[in-house]
């Protein structure tokens, strides 16, 4: 057979050409380092998702608020630090004159960009009242609780009037999402709802560019007359995966991010050069719920057996890499109503669990545990399965996709809730205890109260605590509510998780006590 003589190596190359090419390649390789180095006036942070739109009434949560907090002002805003507190923002003064009235006066000279005039009390009235307007159907309406109206008493002064006392207004309404003030004129021009882009801003920054799912760039608002911020530009990158965010940090692409609990130990032991790792407690609460209306769980002794069979510290080690602590309830440390101690010890008691099961005649019982298909939840479920097995309780784990999971206990979606037994659940939280207890009232049974726990004393305390001005009395009410939940046997409290963050030493981040960034107060180190 003839041998092929075609040659692929007829490229005219010699030693000099090769060296020239190599030199050019090396020079090119160094270019990116120069091109990427951020200017001193730029800070780059990571958000777990992209923000969606510019209307605070339709804010979907933290990701929207990170941007809204930069482009709008509120009457008051959170103070960065390790304990919860607030400071004045656009308000020159604000005071609760009685349990249902809050008077405020605005600072003069806060302007709306693009010629929308000065921020005034009419804007405040419009911003707050539109959220509770049934016609707007704003999802954030519950933030305003019992708000009745806002009375304008002057160009820059007014009174917020509630139908009934509503204390969470100071913790989660005024300084957070629903406290953002919009321009009445701009919203009305937009047809009653702002779109993706804000036509006017009143905060220290404005959006220069929003590249969907990639990056939002905010630059100084030239019309801002408040305290000068440290950074000329803030870039927020939506990165949902924490490991990707960590790699981006190590590659120098971002300056601040939350990191995963699984990598915390390594990062603390050997942090990347020029960076600092800090741990913050999270407000989330995780628990194992039990369906009180499921026949297998009717007997309180069976439920208590499950409570005692779950070893929470073991879950902390396996699923949270030892970085989170067992919780005592649904209200995190640092918040009003946090319990110092739970009724069932965190490590449980297997002997007592077996004893309770025997007394109930339920030894060898098999129960299902529904779990969202996230690695942390699955590991936690496996630990629960293992420790329950030692108490003669067989646990069958049902992994659920998010859409499926979040409709499990919803009565309006059929009879699926009836077969639900145990569920490993996790709710987000804001810095007011009302936000935690609101989901466990009788009214919420079959909506978000999937344990179907209904207790008259609990409901009564929930209502009273909303209007209690005395912080100590209010705290005692919430502590009692968590006792009632635990005594019902329907809840085994697991953890509030943790929120470790990493940041470059060139910046001094300003964070809320739960580790979320307040970019407006970020400083150069």
């Amino acid at each position: 057979m003839r041998r092929d003589k075609f040659s692929w190596t007829r490229i005219p190359i010699n030693r000099r050409r090769f060296l020239a090419g190599a030199a050019l390649g090396a020079a090119t390789a160094t270019l990116p380092r120069i091109a990427w180095s951020a200017g001193d006036g730029v800070v780059k942070g990571r958000s777990y998702a992209d923000w969606g739109q510019s209307d605070p009434a339709f804010s979907t949560g933290v990701t929207d608020e990170e941007v809204h907090a930069l482009i709008y002002t509120k009457l008051i805003q959170y103070t960065p630090g390790r304990s919860w507190g607030w400071q004045l923002d656009s308000a020159a003064s604000i005071e609760q004159t009685d349990p249902t009235h809050i008077t405020f006066a605005l600072k003069p000279g806060i302007g709306w960009s693009n010629g929308y005039g000065e921020l005034n009390a009419a804007d405040v009235k419009y911003s707050f009242e539109r959220v509770i307007d049934p016609d707007l159907a704003a999802p954030n309406k519950p933030d305003w609780g019992t708000l009745d109206r806002v009375d304008v008493t002057g160009e820059r002064s007014g009174v917020i009037v509630f139908k009934e006392p509503f204390q969470p207004v100071w913790n989660i309404t005024l300084p957070y999402i629903s406290g953002n003030i919009v321009s009445k004129k701009a919203v009305e021009e937009a047809g009653g709802r702002l779109g993706p882009d804000a036509p006017t801003v009143s905060g220290p920054y404005k959006v220069k560019e929003h590249r969907l799912k990639e990056r939002t760039t905010l630059v100084r608002n030239p019309d801002w007359s408040g305290p000068r911020t440290d950074f000329d530009e803030i870039q927020i990158f939506p990165i949902d995966d924490e490991n990707t965010a960590q790699i981006a940090f190590e590659a120098g692409d971002i300056d601040f991010t939350r990191v995963s609990l699984s990598s915390l130990a390594n990062l603390k032991a050997s942090p990347p050069a020029g960076s600092t790792v800090a741990e913050y407690p999270s407000l989330y609460y995780v628990w194992v719920g039990m369906n009180l209306d499921n026949p297998a769980l009717n007997d309180i002794r069976v439920r208590q057996a499950v409570q005692y069979a779950i070893d929470v510290p073991a879950i902390m080690e396996a699923a949270y890499f030892g970085a989170a602590k067992p919780s005592t309830g649904i209200i995190a440390p640092g918040l009003i109503g946090h319990r110092e101690k739970e009724l069932v010890p965190p490590e449980g008691n297997l002997a007592k669990a077996r004893e309770l099961l025997d007394a109930a005649g339920a030894s060898g019982i098999t129960l299902t545990l529904d779990v969202l298909n996230k690695a942390t939840n699955v590991t936690a479920a496996q630990v629960i399965q293992a420790t329950c097995a030692q108490a003669d309780i067989t646990i069958d784990i049902n992994l659920r996709e998010s859409g499926d999971f979040w409709s499990l206990g919803d009565e309006s979606k059929g009879d699926g809730w009836k077969s639900m037994q145990l569920i490993l659940n996790r709710f987000s939280m804001t810095p007011d205890p009302y936000y935690a207890t609101a989901w466990f009232t009788c009214e919420q049974v079959g909506v978000w109260n999937w344990e179907r726990f209904c207790n008259a004393e609990f409901d009564d305390l929930h209502k009273k605590a909303l209007g209690e001005v005395d912080t100590a009395k209010r705290a005692a009410m919430y502590e009692r509510m968590q006792d009632l939940m635990e005594e019902s046997g329907a809840y085994r409290f697991i953890t509030h998780e943790a929120a470790p963050v990493i940041y470059r030493d060139t910046i001094a981040p300003a964070l809320r006590p739960d580790g979320l960034p307040l970019y407006r107060f970020f400083k150069k180190a």
């Binding site: 075609f6 969606g52 519950p142 990639e214 990707t244 790699i247 120098g252 998010s402 979040w406």
Partner: protein, 315 residues
């Protein structure tokens, strides 16, 4: 040829409509209430009902799908329930990123894979052929997300040659190209091996055919024989596979877009399915279906141009 193209495009349009109906049905069969997921725990039953009505979910399924098809025909893909942005705007903002990624990946895979396959075929059973074979199979077996992670660690974290995340600055082609290097490398590496093996096998088959022997007997230069008579035929299966491969690359792009935090259609679909943002899911799925059908249609047309026998297949 014109008739062939018309028929092929018509077939593509039918495939798109069928795919839309099937996908729409499958997406709506996934358990979970979109209104609850979108609005979250604070939603009242009234708000949920209002959102369901806004998304058209309160209507019977046949009405929903008919409405969607009519809207698509009018160029209206609906509105994103979160941002109130037109879905078409969202999809078209993401599509170029995915297209750039896929084109860059397949281009570099072809640029390396085709010569590698040719070289192996022309040096059959030599040591270089065997080494090339091992490397090619190694490339095929490496999952793209693993390649992506190591590429990130080596080239972004350690060497800092390339950025780790994003798609580059707007209007800065050099920045965008730099941001494309690692994702395209990760997604295309497996295709280098695949194309190399495919081209090698096709080349060996064609090299053994009578017309090649005749061409050589006529004394044609080897370069002419290879390029004009061997590679032209040997490349046909590769063109077809690349056309179909666009669909697989769309799937692989999901991982890559997550790992590199790049915007793109794949990531958009995943995010939207998780949040049951049906209008965006349907818009993005429609775009990827069209992309897939267009790429397979184009590969068929290219095949027909290269091989006249194929043109008669649709007569």
């Amino acid at each position: 040829m014109f008739l062939y193209i018309v028929k092929r495009v018509g077939l593509g349009a039918v495939i798109i409509v069928i795919a839309i109906v099937l996908l729409y049905g499958m997406i709506h069969l996934i358990p979970g209430d979109p209104a609850s997921i979108i609005l979250g725990p604070r939603a009242t039953p009234e708000l949920r009902a209002a959102l369901a009505a806004k998304m058209g979910l309160d209507k019977p399924f046949p009405v929903q799908i008919a409405t969607f098809l009519v809207d698509v025909a009018r160029g209206d893909l609906g509105t994103d329930v979160f941002s109130n942005r037109p879905v078409a705007e969202i999809v078209f903002s993401q599509l170029p990123h995915t297209l750039a990624l896929i084109i860059a990946a397949i281009t570099w895979a072809m640029a390396i894979g085709i010569p590698l396959g040719c070289y192996s075929a022309l040096h059959r059973n030599t040591m270089i052929d065997k080494i090339t074979g091992v490397i090619s199979v190694g490339c095929i077996t490496l999952p793209s997300f693993l390649v992506a992670l190591y590429a990130l660690l080596v080239f972004a974290v350690w060497l800092k040659w390339f950025p780790a995340i994003g798609a580059g600055r707007t209007g800065d082609l050099a920045s965008q190209a730099r941001h494309l290097v690692l994702p395209a490398f990760a997604i295309g590496l497996g295709w280098v091996g695949y194309i190399a093996r495919l081209v090698r096998a096709s080349m060996l088959e064609v090299l053994a055919e009578n017309h090649v022997r005749t061409a050589r007997a006529f004394g044609l230069p080897e370069r002419v024989v290879i390029f004009r008579y061997v590679l032209r035929l040997a490349i046909l299966p590769t063109v077809t596979v690349i056309g179909i491969g666009i669909g697989f690359l769309l799937s692989a792009a999901v991982f890559i877009e997550v790992v590199f935090a790049r915007p793109g259609i794949g990531k958009l679909i995943i995010d939207s399915i998780t949040t049951r943002n049906y209008p965006v899911v349907m818009g993005a799925v429609l775009a990827s279906t069209v992309l897939f059908v267009v790429s397979t249609t184009l590969s068929d047309i290219v095949n027909a141009i290269l091989d006249p026998r194929i043109r008669s297949s649709l007569r």
